[in-house]
Each structure stands twice: as C-alpha cells, then as structure tokens.
C-alpha cells in the first residue's frame, strides 16, 4: 500500500504545485488507491483549472459532514468537506480533491469550468448547506422547496419517528403548491419576446413519457422548445441517508432500488467498495457469477430501453416483444436468485448462494434464442424509416460536450468515444472476457439506441463465456468479514460460531477508511463512495449515478427542437428517476 509521503513525493500533479513549487495539497491515503489531496478553498479554482486538461471530466462532487467522524488520521480539521472526483480517460486514472470547511464555510463554484458542476453543487448545498460562491442559481434540487434543514447533516433526523408527526394543513398545502409553481423569472427566462408570448408547459411530474416522476418546465414558442428546466427530486428517498443507519450488510437491498432496472448490477459497486476497505479477495466462481448476473441485468435494462424508446416515438408494438424477452430473462434470474427485479443477491465477499442445478441450460436457451430475436427487432424498429426520421440528428452532442457535462456509458460511446470501464479499467474479473466496445459516431438519439442494442449482443457474448467457463470453487470468500460468513463449521468450533453470530446480529465491522468503486452500469458509470469510521454502519454513503448528469444536459440538446423531439431525447437518454434522485 502506498503511503501518504510516497504520493506526495512522486505523483503530485503539477497543478497541485504553486509557482514556487510548493505543494498546495495534503495527500490522503484511501483504500481504493485513488490519489486524494486536501486543498484550501482559496486555491481550489486554480488547482482545478490546472487539473482539467489531464482530468477532463468532473465525475462527482459531494459533501461529507465530518463533525462526528473520529478516525481521520492526517486529515485537516473540518466540519464539512467537499469532495471532487475527476476522471481521466487515459491511463492516468482518477484524482480526488477535497476541501475542508469550518462552518459556515464556502467554496468557489466550478460551474465556469464544468457546466456539470451546477447540479452537483446545488445538491451539496441542498444536503449540507455548503455555499458555493458565484453559483448562478443555488437553490434546492432534491428536497422540496420548503424543506427545513439540510438532510445529510448529522443532526438532521434520519427517521420519521425522530421528528414531529407530519401533518399537512390547508395553509401548508397551499404554500407547497405555490412553491412548486414554475416562475420563469427565477431561471432568467422572459415571458415574451418581441414577436410572441411564450407558453410555459409543465411536462410532468406525471407524464406518460418522462419515465417516472420527472418534471421539465418548458418555455415554448408554438411547439418549439425555447428553453427547458428539468426539475428533479420527486423520487428522492434519501438513499444516502439510509446508508448511515443500515448495517453494511443490510444496506444491500437498498442499492437494488437505485437503478431499479439494473437489479444486482447496483450491488456490485457497493460490495466491491466494502471489499476494498475490508481487504476481501473474492473467489473466482463468485466473480464470474457476479459478472454473469450483471450482464443479464444489463440486457434486461437495455430491453426496457429498446421497447420504450420505440414506444415513445409512437411505435406501439415493439415494447411487448421486448418485455416478453425480459420476462424470459426474469425467469432465469428468479431461478437463480429467487427474486426478479430486486434480488439483492450479492454479498460482501461473494454471492448469497451457489447456482442452482440446471442453471446453465436455462441461460444457454436464452442466449441461443436472443440473437435471432434481436435481428427481428432490428427490422421492426431500428430500420423503420419513420423511426429514423424521428431520431437521426435529434438531440446531438459531441464527445467534448459529453465529457464537459459528465455523460458516461452508452451516451458517451454514441459520440464515437470508445471508452468502457470494463475494458479501460477492468474490475471484478472483466479482464478475463472477450468482448467489444460498441460505438457510434453521430451522438444523436438514434446512435444512443444503436450502441445499447449492440451492447445487448456483447453482453450475450460475455454471458456465453461465463456459461462455458464457470469455475468451480466456493461462491463466497473465507474472509472473516464475509457476510453472512460460511456456516458449515459454525456448529463445530466456537470461534466461527462467535464470528457468525456477531456478523449476523450486529453486522460486520469494516475497518476505518474511504473507498469508492466504479462500475460500468446499465446507464453509465455508477459508483459508491463509502466512508467507514470503524463501525457497523457506513459513516457516509455517496452514490454517484449516471442518470443525474444526463438529465442536467437535456436543455442543452433540446433547445430549438419540438416537443416530440424532446420526447425522443428523453427516451434515448434511458434514465430511471430512482437513479437520478436516489
């Protein structure tokens, strides 16, 4: 393991040195080996500007309430900290910059460097009350406009039982309604131009095509979208807050419900981040099982995308075919895990159970039948000329814009950038598999669909390799922090019994530290940044989801288009609101 000194001497990027060569940052060691530096708020902007050429994407930005944290060796004193995670697409890896704040603190905004910072900073303000100087519109984003307090602060109650009983009086209802009213002036919009009076239309939060509870306030000239303001937070359930009171183990089912189409794919970054902190090595069989199930869920999610995409441009039939396939797929998932959409089946150190007898026959049947069906769908939907007219050239953005706005996954690859985390930085055993990274060149709605559909084929390829080469061996690690621990010897020796009892009743105690783990999820890069204070629960659970920045981009790519184009764009982004709001 690297020491703080080693990082400081050898790898400190130039951007972290001032003119006279002195270091502006203090290094911190993390369990995931991502170079992490503490920087003073006044230097932040300069440092970030220097880092941007090497690390072009602002991958994540979030706050941590440091006030109750006991184990922070070598870290500057802080009430709150703001964490910036920058991504490089070269072999440089990532870098993490942290800023310590003493309450009431403020940091300079980074909106001028990365437009994607806008929503992230609003979120950090919403959750912690951290002020970002110079932010153009620092207002609540996830919590309702009239919410009191900042929900992720430690003093904010986590359960309803810790608060006064909730009552919605007439006055409160009116006030809430009033606060939800869209006021164009707050967003710097004019109500009319020289020629025309604009119409403001609330698309959502309940609308057939917004895939959940998502509101877009549209400024319309006729049917032409002049500007749009996406409004999120209607699906916010405080998943990050729940992470702070659930045990490490019992939080797994919550992760399933983040990207609810991704199933166990959500478990993967979470359990891998814990395994990194705990130093658990996962056996090969468990790795391959995890990959196989993740890829099955990738197919499932992409099938939903495929069907709804066709449906949203007005094609009625494809969705039924794709849902029928998804149903077959769920049959396999159910046979293996017992669950369907939310199996919560991965465990710290492995998976919940071994594969059932006959699993390979089911999987083989599915992957044998799928390619022909995909060809059929291709003819039915993707080659349809009206569908092409509706989506080719609509909602275009290029690679540079995608990176500026934090777009990952198929949305990034559709711009021609061949970058898939599974290939670029193989995790969890993906380096053992042979598959291609599909790309497209146009970066429009149609290309995003093309990429996803090709990904289904690649996933089938990966699954076939899993079936053909499933290793023998344990499905769970022998490590003492594996949860629940292997039970076969518990009734024979007292040590194992005690471990089992404690790990099951209290849950495992994960060593203090910080770790983030990133996966190529169905919709883009998904990661869990976990902070352990050496307890049975997480001190801070940060969930970085791909859909969040994708939605932020909607106004950019929909201006000047018409409402039906906006619907096509929404469909092509492929998001679920649970993944956005958490």
């Amino acid at each position: 393991m690297q020491t703080a000194a080693a990082i400081k001497n050898n790898e400190m990027p130039d951007a972290l040195l001032n003119q006279s060569g002195e270091a502006l940052g203090v290094a911190q060691v993390t369990a995931d080996h991502t170079p992490t530096y503490w920087v003073a708020a006044k230097d932040l902007h300069q440092v970030m500007r220097g880092l941007k050429p090497q690390f072009p994407m602002l991958y994540d930005l979030f706050g941590i309430d440091e006030r109750h944290r006991t184990q922070r060796p070598g870290q500057p004193a802080a009430d709150f900290s703001v964490v910036y995670h920058l991504l490089s697409f070269t072999d440089k890896g990532d870098i993490r910059i942290k800023v310590a704040l003493i309450e009431p603190g403020s940091v300079p905004t980074l909106v001028d460097l990365w437009p994607a910072a806008n929503w992230y900073e609003r979120e950090a303000w919403d959750m912690f009350g951290i002020i970002f100087d110079g932010h153009p519109n620092l207002r609540r984003i996830l919590l309702p406009p009239l919410w009191e307090g900042h929900a992720l602060r430690k003093e904010h109650p986590a359960r309803a039982t810790e608060m006064e009983p909730f009552a919605m009086s007439e006055e409160l209802l009116d006030a809430e309604q009033e606060a939800l009213l869209f006021k164009p002036e707050e967003w710097g919009m004019a109500r009319e131009s020289d020629e025309t009076e604009f119409m403001f239309l609330n698309l959502g939060p309940n609308h057939p095509s917004v895939h959940g509870v998502f509101r877009i306030a549209l400024q319309l000239d006729g049917e032409v979208v002049v500007d749009a303001v996406p409004d999120i937070g209607y699906h916010h359930r405080g998943a990050e807050k729940m992470g702070e009171r659930q045990t490490w183990h019992s939080y797994i089912p919550y992760t399933d419900r983040i990207d609810y189409l991704g199933g166990v794919m959500n478990n993967l970054p979470y359990v891998m981040a814990i395994e990194q902190m705990a130093g658990i090595e996962v056996p090969d069989r468990a790795k391959v099982i995890r990959i196989m199930l993740s890829e099955l869920f990738r197919i499932s999610s992409h099938l939903v995308f495929y069907g709804t995409f066709a449906q949203d441009v007005g094609q009625m039939s494809p969705v039924f075919y794709m849902f029928a396939d998804r149903e077959r797929l769920f049959g396999i998932i159910e046979a293996i895990t017992g669950g369907r959409m939310h199996p919560a089946w991965f465990r710290i150190g492995g998976v919940a159970q071994d594969l059932p007898v006959g699993w390979d026959r089911m999987v083989r049947e599915f992957i044998d039948a799928m390619p022909a069906r995909l060809d059929h769908y291709d003819k039915m939907a993707m080659q349809n000329s009206i569908l092409k007219q509706r989506t080719v050239g609509i909602g275009k953005y290029n690679t540079r814009e995608a990176i500026e706005w934090g777009v990952t996954g198929p949305g990034l690859r559709a711009t021609g950038m061949e970058w898939d985390l599974r290939k670029a930085r193989p995790y969890g055993g993906y380096d053992q598999f042979d598959f291609e990274v599909p790309t497209a060149q146009g970066g429009d709605c149609y290309d995003r669909a093309v990429v996803r559909i090709e990904e289904i084929r690649q996933s089938l390829k990966i699954i076939r390799q899993c079936v053909d080469n499933m290793p023998e061996g344990p499905y769970k690690s022998e490590h003492r922090l594996t949860t629940p621990p292997p039970k076969d010897r518990t009734l024979q020796d007292i040590e194992t019994l005690i471990h089992h009892f404690l790990n099951v009743s209290w849950g495992p105690v994960i060593p203090a530290g910080e770790s983030a783990c990133m996966v190529e999820a169905t919709k883009g890069l998904n990661s869990y940044h976990l902070v352990s204070d050496g307890g049975t629960t997480s001190y801070r659970t940060r969930i970085r989801t791909p859909s969040f920045p994708h939605l932020q981009m909607i106004p950019l790519i929909s201006r000047g288009l018409m409402i039906p184009d906006l619907i096509a764009i929404i469909a092509s982004i492929d998001f679920v609101m649970a993944d956005v709001d958490r």
Partner: protein, 318 residues
Amino acid sequence: MSVGATIVFSLVLLLAIVGGAAVLTWFERRLLGIWQDRYGPNRLGPFGILQVLADMLKLLTKHDWVPPFSDKVVFIFAPTAIVVAMMLGFAVVPFSPELYILDINIGLLFFLGMTSLAVYSVLLGGLASNNKYALLGGLRSAAQMVSYEVFMGLSLMGVVMLTGSFSLRDIVEAQRDGWYCIPQALGLYVFIIAGIAESHRLPFDLPEAEHELTAGFHTEYGGMKFTMFMLGEYCGLILLSCMITTLFFGGWLGPVLPPIVWFCLKTFFFICFFILLRAAIPRPRYDQLMSLGWKVMLPLTLINLVATGAIALWMQGA
C-alpha cells in the same frame, strides 16, 4: 325504399354502427394482442367479448366531470359533434343495391362535408378544455385535418371523373367492369393516408399523441364524454373502411354471395388493415406529417388528377 322502411333501416343501421364500434374496441385489442405476442382481453365471456359490456358499464358509471376552468357549454358540445357528423356520414353509404338511406347526386361531397365537420369536435374540445396539452392537441389537429382534407377530396376526384357522378351508387355501378383500385391506385393510396390522418388514429394520432401531449385534445375528458370521442373515432374508422370499399373496391359487387355480405367482408378487411397499421408504424413528427402532406401527397393527387382527366378524355375521343 318507402319512408317507413328507410326509418326502420336508419334505426337498425344506427344500432349496428354503435354496436359495431363497441365490439370493434374489443376486436382491435384482441387483434393487436395477436400481432404483439400477447393475449388481449380474453377473460370475460367467450373470447373475452363481454369485456365490451364491462367497459361500457365502467364508462357509463364514471363521474361525469366538467372541469370548473373549462368553457362548459363548448366542452359538452364538442364530443357530440364528432358522433353526429360520423353517423350522418353513413347516410350516403350504399350497403347493397337496395340498402341505403340517401341516394343524392352529391353523396360523395356529403361524405367529405361530414368528415370536415368532425374536425370541430377535436378542435373545440381542445379549446374548451382550457388546458395547455389540449390546446396543443387542438392546434395540431386543426392544421393536420385542414391539410389532409384537401388531399382527401382531391384524391377522390379521379373516381368522380371516371364515373361522371358524385353519387355513390353510380360509382359502385360503374365498377362492374373493374374496380377502381387499379386505375386509381394513386388516389387510393392518398385516400388511405388522408383517411387515417382525418380519423387521427395511430400513426397519425398527433392530436392525441399520448407520449407527447398525454392525451392531447381529450386530456380533460372522462366518462361518457370521453366515450363519445372514442365512439366517434371508431365510427370514423368504420366509415372510412366503408368508403374505401365503395369507392375503390366495387362496394357490394362480387360473385355468388349476396351483395351485403360482400360489402361487409370488404369493409371488415380494411378495418383489420387499419388496426395492423396502428400496430406496425411509429408516429411521425408534426412538421414531418405536414411536409409529407404538402410535398408528397399534394403533387401525387394532382398528377393523378391530370392523368385521369387526360385518359378519360382520350377514351372519350377514341
């Protein structure tokens, strides 16, 4: 037919159309089910046909709500317009040599007039709802229907030229030597497309466009008034199929079977065809639909018109 017989036949026809439209809702869902790899309503009664009854009961017993912010009189008037106009349209359809209500020398124009009046239903519904989605739907429908009415009318003029009459019975009789679907193939093509646009069904359901405008012009409608819109839409579908049969496929003409059976069979075929279209084709964008109309449909109909006229004159000369 005597006056008494005409009245009886009108009543029978009225019942048949309303009943047919109701059964069609079930039939469409079953047919879509077959094409979409699923079942459709199959629980209630034999083949699920009682679903029609259940749906009707449900719609009839729903709260008959008029939004307080709407223009109430127009709001209630709007859905009736489409039903009345479509029902009247059936008056000129010759079901067989003996079975018809009206045989006027402007029968075809009467049909066009009734379909153009049906537009008001959508338009006024959208206007009276005082809802932005409904308004957008109404605006779309106004532009769409006025445009497609033009092509619809023009596409039929070839048939009129060949027959030399606007009377639908004359048109059928004139097809004894050959159906007009062959000499008037272009006209048929335009008429079918314009017909779907007029009846605003998928793929040209832009005034409703569930995925864009929630439900477009009938966003605020529910219960009986919504039923009227649906009834109007299905009547329009049946009427359109009847007209295609009459104008291009020889109406009641056919060997062996009685004329009325031939007429019903042909009409049924086109109803199925329209349902298949709905299942198969995505919805174009509003401006794409309009440019298809003015840049493709209009030139096509004009070419058809000129060519038909020239050939008709040449035939006369020869």
